[in-house]
């Protein structure tokens, strides 16, 4: 099961498709859940801790508008976790939590430069495009490893240990 970063980060279609094909979608909703259900945080607008803007500084400089840093405080950890990514170009709406174009540019730049497999598709506007959209995403997700690479490494590490005992 690979952790797949999706853009737009709150997309229903992408989150569902990733889960449907046996992988874990990295979405904004899981980050938001941590923020809004944690009893140590107050209700909005005071729903961030002083640590969050500092976390955002890791991805964007101090001169960058605070909205970018605030968003990156949530999205940045997802990008770091990502083992693959699906980027949809020209989604119909880009407002609300995904409404900042500078954040979106930065996010896409970071995920592309991370070196993980990235699929870039156009948002479908017709049935034919929807078919291609689903087929491309299905083929991409099926090409990703189903097992975690960490598990394989753990297995490999265990094997030489056994050899040592045997020797």
């Amino acid at each position: 099961m690979a952790k797949v970063f999706i853009y737009p980060v709150n997309s229903l279609i992408l989150a569902d498709l990733v889960e449907r094909f046996g992988h874990k979608p990295l979405t904004m909703m899981s980050q938001i859940r941590e923020k809004v259900t944690n009893i140590s945080l107050d209700s909005p607008p005071i729903n961030i801790t002083p640590e969050d803007p500092k976390l955002g500084l890791k991805y964007a400089a101090i001169e960058v508008p605070p909205g970018v840093r605030g968003r990156m405080a949530l999205i940045g950890p997802l990008i770091e976790e990502a083992e693959a990514a699906i980027i949809v170009e020209n989604p119909p709406t880009n407002f609300g939590c995904v409404g900042c174009n500078r954040t979106n540019e930065l996010m896409k730049y970071l995920i592309r430069s991370k070196g993980v497999p990235v699929l870039e598709v156009k948002y479908p506007e017709s049935d034919e495009e929807a078919r291609n959209f689903v087929n491309k995403i299905a083929a991409f997700l099926e090409s990703l490893p189903k097992e975690k690479p960490e598990e394989n490494e753990m297995m490999k590490e265990k094997e030489p240990a056994k050899m040592e005992i045997g020797e």
């Binding site: 737009p8 279609i13 989150a15 904004m28 859940r33 479908p124 017709s126 929807a130 959209f133 087929n135």
Partner: protein, 147 residues
Amino acid sequence: MTETQKEEVTKYIVISSDEVLPSDAAMKIYESEFPVTVKETCFGLIVTGAKDDVQTLVEKIRQLDKNHIFVKDRGFPAGDERRCRASRGGGPRPGFHFLREEVKMLPAIGAALDELEAKEPVKEEHKEKCRLKISDLEKVIEEELAR
């Protein structure tokens, strides 16, 4: 350390099916007797509860019409005062606009998933030009006449 509370999750179940209505799915959840909170909406359901319970229920509901029921996480619990329209004085809930846009595409996505499941050839682009088969022509005529 005291016993930690079970992790609660919330999921949207968006129904874009000709066979299943949100009320059918809600009834299915009530029948299952899992201790979860269900909210019926125009597009489907919002389910809040313990992670395992919600996951099990979601899989059950999805099986009602696998390719036409879509699921995603939600950050806020169902009926949360910070998001619920009742306490915010009406108007669309934040986040609804994007969901509404995506819901419009769901019939096409569902049909594409049906085709994928039926193992129809993946037709990205027509690679070779070939003569139209009589059976295909008949299909096109039937589809046109059925309109």
